[in-house]
């Protein structure tokens, strides 16, 4: 819109600037957006806390405590604001033990020096090589966890970064994960399976309600809290729909799909040995899977076919994963297990032929029925109209979904202390005192601030990485 009184607006031409400027543009764009979004959300939440207090003070019995209660709220608001502006750094935490290690980082059990609380701190190493896709994953995880304020999702307290790494400070769930339970018990009874299945239905429903598709639901990502109830973790592949202009379906090939060379290998001679009920072998397989889980490739075992056929997918993709996990709980291995990932891909794509229940496993028809209604075409998959249709399946007859999280879980971790890691298979992990930065960068990290005055704040990708949750502990 050009008016002679004003300088005329030239045609926009972002390519006139270099790649760094354009990268900064992207960042700036997103940060400004999230600044206002977060600002509004915090303002609302603060107002709600005040309203809540005012409501409580309607009770005449509390009148004498009016000043005191106001003071308490004021103090917790102050603590939160201080927390928001505190520069988080690794030095605020004492490392206790490494509880997980992956291709891009590690998870340590840490204790916050300030208040002695125990957390799980996930660290992702920033490298020059950190690809766009990896950054996108980190962001996806941060967004999903930051938005979720649900009992079914592992809590993210804060995120921060230094020159070397990105950090996610999360609640520590001492019960380990479903993978470890499956390794320990090999197979679940139908009753135990029903409990975890029902909890998974609620958990998946919760994240879908937030607008996220997890896309990577597998036993390793289902964590067990101190009471034995589950929480979803690892949202690194999740997709958020809010803010996206898509109409709710993705058409893309995010996962490495079966490629040309896969076709050559489609006849796999080891296939047979894995589909017989050979428990020891399955556990060897599981152990390999655990190793595989930390590799860049990950495991495709629980992934729905539509994710790599490029037909487009939506929320129902997570229900397929639920079906494959239930199968694993009941049968002892996932339905498309193979020694090599590409064989698994082939089996998944040809699920009509490859998906079978072994003859020697005795299961109730309802169990088989539920799994079959989840591991099937996306057009007919149970759950595509919402979680309620899964809850209504006869397999769940008698389950009270409303109180599920408050009932006694079938397996309860007996813990000796707040830093008990006995449910994490840590013996395979190298235990280092500190987070181990790459040698070349160690000095850099130790110095903290560099000489360049703009360096610490300005050289970082993902500057809006920071997220801070208002904690009950402020109260």
């Amino acid at each position: 819109m050009n008016v002679p009184e004003f300088s005329s607006a030239p045609e926009k031409y972002p390519a006139r600037y270099g790649p760094r400027a354009n990268r900064n543009q992207e960042r700036c764009f997103q940060i400004a957006q999230s600044f206002f979004k977060n600002g509004v959300a915090r303002t609302k939440a603060r107002y709600e806390r005040w309203k809540e207090l005012e409501e409580r003070l309607q009770d005449p019995a509390l009148q004498p405590k009016r000043e005191e209660l106001y003071m308490q709220l004021r103090m917790s608001e102050s603590k939160y604001l201080r927390f928001l502006r505190t520069k988080e750094s690794l030095s605020n935490y004492t490392p206790i033990k490494t509880i997980g290690k992956g291709y891009a980082g590690e998870v340590k059990l840490v204790r916050r020096k300030q208040d002695g609380r125990v957390y799980a701190l996930k660290r992702l190493v920033k490298t020059e090589m950190m690809s766009h896709e990896q950054l996108a994953r980190v962001r996806a995880e941060r967004d999903a966890l930051a938005e979720a304020d649900s009992d079914w999702v592992v809590k993210l307290y804060t995120t921060f970064q230094d020159n070397m790494s990105l950090y996610l400070l999360m609640e520590y769930l001492p019960g380990g994960d479903l993978m470890a339970l499956l390794i320990k018990y090999q197979i679940f009874s139908e009753d135990v399976t029903r409990f975890y299945a029902a909890e998974m239905v609620l958990a998946i429903e919760a994240i879908h309600r937030l607008g996220f598709i997890h896309r990577d639901i597998k036993p390793d990502n289902i964590l067990i809290d101190r009471h034995g109830h589950i929480k979803l973790a690892n949202f690194g592949l999740s997709k958020g729909f809010r803010g996206d202009r898509s109409n709710g379906r993705y058409k893309e090939n995010q996962r490495p799909g079966p490629s040309d060379n896969q076709k050559r290998n489609s006849v796999n001679i080891d296939e047979i040995s894995l589909t017989v009920s050979n428990r020891p072998q399955i556990n060897i397989w599981r152990h390999c899977r655990k190793v595989l889980a930390y590799s860049t490739v990950g495991t495709p075992d629980y992934v729905a076919p539509e994710l790599f056929t490029g037909r487009g997918y939506s929320f129902e993709i997570d229900w397929w994963s639920l079906g494959t996990i239930l199968y694993e709980c009941l049968v002892g291995w996932p339905p498309f297990a193979s020694e090599a990932a590409y064989d698994t891909y082939t089996k998944i794509i040809n699920w009509r032929e490859s998906f079978i229940f072994p003859d020697d496993v005795q299961l109730h028809p309802n169990s088989i029925g539920l799994v079959k209604s989840l591991v099937c075409d996306q057009e007919t998959r149970l759950g595509r109209h919402g979680a309620d249709e899964i809850k209504a399946h006869p397999f769940f007859a008698g389950v009270d979904f409303g109180t599920l999280r408050h009932v006694r879980a079938p397996f309860q971790p007996g813990l000796t202390s707040d830093v008990d890691t006995s449910y994490f298979p840590v013996e395979d992990l190298p235990q280092t005192e500190e987070f181990s930065p790459p040698a070349a960068a160690a000095g850099h990290l130790a110095n903290g601030a560099t000489d360049d005055p703009l360096k610490p704040d300005m050289s970082l990708p993902l500057i809006d990485y920071t997220f801070r949750r208002f904690e009950k502990s402020f109260m």
Partner: protein, 337 residues
């Protein structure tokens, strides 16, 4: 295209053909920041006396600007700003828009349950992080070593031809620096303050226990034994340090608008983001009494425009400091009145 304001426009162009510099005999207004050994940045108070001696009253104080609102026409006031003609792109209401809708004041107004010192500290840090989000775009070097803001594009820390800012060196002498160096020095100074937990305490145990009914609003306290944030461990000079930080941040914003609005922010589709962050900054800084009218001068016309187009709600100080007639005139010129 015919323009119903063509008559007015002709007059406008007639009066503004002379370069602004000939009308404004003053050297660039300079108030100075210095970096001395104790890390203090001293401020000479900003004076627009040289402008006001020659021209109709400037919006130097709320009462003055109110007077102008009543008496001066929008055109006269705009003329008194000595703006280059045609007017900068960012004064075109079509490019003064935002990424957010609604009343920004909800983000600035101190909630009842938050201690005033804590609230100011919070906003200093938030706005600092926000501003540097934009600065990074013009500051960071490409592979070939060039940055968008460099000593060739911006040999001075300027905000248009009427304003440039000097830094004080260690001998308290005002020195002219390329904008990029000024910004770097200032970043170092501000982060030095913000990271100093004696000035910006972060200990959760240090938060104020008692509510002081006397410290109920955001105005500065004149008493010597009481100051904003005292009970929460903020030092006595906390407010004045924060005022300086806000003033310095304002200068950077002013430079971004005057020197870099089109290149690069408009080209990079960041102009709405910049507008939203800056208008939020002005609303907050004025609401907290961290910025007062004389300092706002280089950006006065945009403030006028935002008061007129509803960005600044009537109950805000920013609105009070604005000149509605000038803002309405800008809207009128764009055919948006």
């Amino acid at each position: 295209m015919s323009n119903i304001f063509s008559g007015i426009n002709a007059r406008l162009r007639g009066t503004s053909n002379k370069p602004a510099s000939t009308k404004s005999p003053i050297s660039p207004t300079s108030d100075d920041g210095r970096l001395n050994s104790s890390g203090g940045l001293s401020q000479k108070s900003h004076s627009s006396a040289s402008l006001s001696s020659k021209l109709p009253p400037l919006p130097a104080s709320p009462s003055l600007s109110q007077t102008i609102t009543m008496t001066g026409s929008g055109e006269d006031i705009l003329t008194s700003y000595h703006l280059p003609r045609p007017l900068p792109l960012w004064l075109n209401p079509a490019y003064a828009r935002h990424i957010v809708k609604g009343n920004f004041m909800t983000l600035s107004a101190r909630p009842k349950t938050v201690e005033p010192g804590e609230w100011i500290a919070h906003h200093v840090v938030e706005h600092y992080r926000n501003l540097w989000n934009f600065v990074r775009v013009i500051y960071e070097k490409e592979e070939d070593g060039t940055s968008i803001c460099n000593p060739t594009t911006c040999p001075k820390m300027s905000a248009g031809t009427n304003h440039s800012y000097t830094w004080l060196n260690s001998r308290f002498e005002p020195i002219e620096l390329p904008a990029i160096e000024y910004i770097a020095l200032m970043q170092r100074w501000i982060s030095g303050k913000i990271d100093d937990t004696k000035i910006f305490p972060t200990e959760p145990s240090g938060v104020s226990f008692a509510a002081n009914p006397n410290i109920g609003n955001s105005t500065l306290l004149s008493g010597t034994d009481e100051w904003i944030g005292k009970r929460s461990g903020f030092p006595k000079d906390f407010s004045s340090i924060c005022q300086t930080i806000f003033l310095q941040m304002f200068r950077v914003y002013a430079h971004l608008y005057w020197a870099h609005f089109t290149e690069p922010f408009y080209h990079l589709n960041l102009e709405k983001q910049l507008n939203s962050c800056f208008s939020h900054f002005v609303l907050t800084a004025t609401a907290l009494d961290m910025l007062k009218p004389p300092a706002l001068e280089p950006m006065q016309p945009l403030i006028d425009l935002w008061a007129a187009n509803g960005t600044f709600p009537p109950e805000s100080k920013a609105y009070e400091y604005a000149n509605l007639n000038a803002g309405n005139r800008l809207l009128q010129m764009a055919g948006m009145a």
